[in-house]
Symmetry: C2
Subunit: 234 residues, 2 copies
DNA sequence: TAGATTGTTAATCGATTAACAATC
DNA sequence: TAGATTGTTAATCGATTAACAATC
């Protein structure tokens, strides 16, 4: 019924895939988790893994993992499982990690500085090439191999230096305005740490990390948990 | 059919709620967003808001917001909407923000330091009362009003000082072991920044922030977006 | 009252899971 | 071959949405 065939690019074999009509958010969220887990297996020199092994390590069902992967192709072998290195390479490709991304950081506060110094990105093709902050005391300082520049230089810089991603660690009150400026400079991806739901056009993607939201979720769950405990002790 | 009645505590009126048998994850994720949005309306002195106004500000449907809230009670007024201050107070209560939480931070690297210095928590009842790191050069240093202590003192400290939440910003290789130690000291909530799926017993809640995962999602979406663009230009 | 918006139900949509033929 | 595990379908489960009676 189905044809077997080689797909182009680096000799990866891909047989079939679900009709690519938008990958569900849940699947997208799990891809980096698979990537991380497989990287760890590589480090530990594990050559082979099954969907059920992966599942029990990640508290997911084996069926879900297989179903997720099937959106992109079939990467395993019947009766055997997955070769770790091969699957990792596929997922790496799916995530777009063979591309290189240039990034700018806006907001060199505590969080901005931590992110700029966080090394884990550079090795994976994300390179920070400019930092902006409107605090004149920071201007001219070096941080993560970049000179901190005033935000007024933003447009000038982006015009000359093609940039894929802007990291936004500005105070809430400034974020939407800066976001608008970034968008009109043609930025296509925003990594938003500012506690604000940004308004952007359809063709710009935003991925956010809202620290406080996460802590509030923890608070909710703690309360829920202690409620359950109290209920069961009745 | 339904009874109207007063609920205890601070004179909040709550009429009915969906059978509380586990709140869906999606609802839990949106509660902090509502909280944030309502706080902003408070700051702007907006007294009243409808589900459709809230929805359009947050890119959610009005029905979803009403449905989410109905898990906890009915806080609005027919034909009028919601009083901002009242709804904020309800959500604040739902999230467990009238409690006070004590926290310890483990790992005083870039990220740990940024989080320790991030002020937004303290005002909401989350207070950091100890910081641990196994780097002897950091030992004794002050950070966010805490002395950095060696990790070997962890158990000793937790025994004497009841602690609700541990913030984990340790390197991947150390995290699971430290997590186990925290759990055996009775910690019930872990805010995990370490790029690792932690194994914990059922009665411990983990809320994670995986920076790299988030950036990889952004990478995926950027690629998906440019794919779509390419396809539509054919 | 007329107008507006809630809270809730039923309908729809989508995601997860169980099951199994295919097959290495 | 016998055993194992995939990829995929159908069944199930759960979440979102549309619609509307209730009602301020």
């Amino acid at each position: 019924m189905r044809k077997l065939g080689k797909e182009g690019g680096r000799g990866m074999t891909t047989r079939n895939k679900k009709i690519r009509a938008g990958i569900p958010q849940g699947v997208i969220s799990r891809l980096p988790i698979y990537y991380r887990s497989l990287s760890e297996l590589m480090r530990r020199d594990v050559g082979r893994v099954s969907s059920s092994q992966l599942g029990s390590a990640l508290d997911l069902t084996a069926a879900q993992i297989r179903s997720d992967l099937s959106y992109f192709g079939s990467f395993g072998q019947h009766g055997y499982g997955y070769r770790v290195e091969e699957l990792l390479q596929h997922i790496s490709h799916i995530l777009g990690l063979d591309a290189n991304y240039t990034m700018v950081l806006i907001g060199a506060g505590n969080l901005g500085r931590a992110i700029a110094s966080y090394g884990n990105f550079r090795n994976r093709g994300f390179s920070l090439h400019a930092i902006f902050d409107n605090n004149p005391h920071l201007e001219g300082n070096f941080l993560a191999d970049c000179i901190i520049q005033p935000i007024s230089k933003l447009e000038e810089f982006l015009e000359v230096n093609p940039t894929d991603i802007a990291i936004l660690t500005t105070p809430r009150a400034a974020s939407q305005e800066i976001c608008d400026r970034l968008v009109s400079c043609g930025i296509k991806g925003i990594w938003n740490f500012s506690p604000l739901h940004l308004q952007v056009p359809d063709n710009v993607v935003v991925e956010h990390i809202h620290l406080t939201d996460s802590l509030l979720k923890l608070s909710f769950k703690l309360q829920e948990q202690s409620q359950q405990k109290a209920d069961s002790e009745k």
